[in-house]
Symmetry: C2
Subunit: 100 residues, 2 copies
């Protein structure tokens, strides 16, 4: 499995809008076992995205999906930056959508 | 929802053993929507744990479960420390075990 833990910073006041776009753009993605969007409780502009994929290739392939491309296009102007990105190897867990 | 993203450091050479204990100790926990244990790809002693709970109370209650208490007891001597802990508010996601 291939995991990502990242923190994204929204333009001031744009976090809710950005979260809504990300939520809509990430419905069914082949090989996606978990994709959770969360707001930071201490930084009002920060969003955490934690992902688990079957493998790195599934993650890369998802970036080419039309709905993901569309979401990226809409999200781009609302993003101020990314301030942390960690690649992990998920080992086990509750809530992995293994039916994918 | 209540989320946690944390990084734990195992005693040198003890990461696999620690992961196995955490995996065994976290089977069914009421209110747990996601609980993923992952190894860090750049630090051979680091483990990431990303959690989503129905609410903060569910998380607190889980710490009192006998199987979780037993896992904590076994894990404690293998843990060197915790170097990051973030509380989040999960908003949406693929792979949330909402059947709980």
């Amino acid at each position: 499995m291939y995991g990502l833990i990242g923190r994204m910073i929204a333009q001031p006041g744009k976090r809710d809008e950005l979260v809504a776009i990300m939520q809509a753009g990430t419905g069914r993605m082949p090989g996606c076992l978990s994709y959770i969007v969360a707001t930071d409780t201490t930084d009002r502009n920060a969003i955490w995205i934690t992902e688990v994929w079957l493998d790195e290739a599934s993650h890369k392939a998802s970036l080419a999906l039309p709905e993901v491309q569309a979401a990226i296009e809409k999200a781009r102007p609302l993003i101020a930056g990314f301030d942390s990105r960690t690649v992990t190897t998920p080992v086990a867990g509750v809530g992995l959508d293994v039916a994918d």
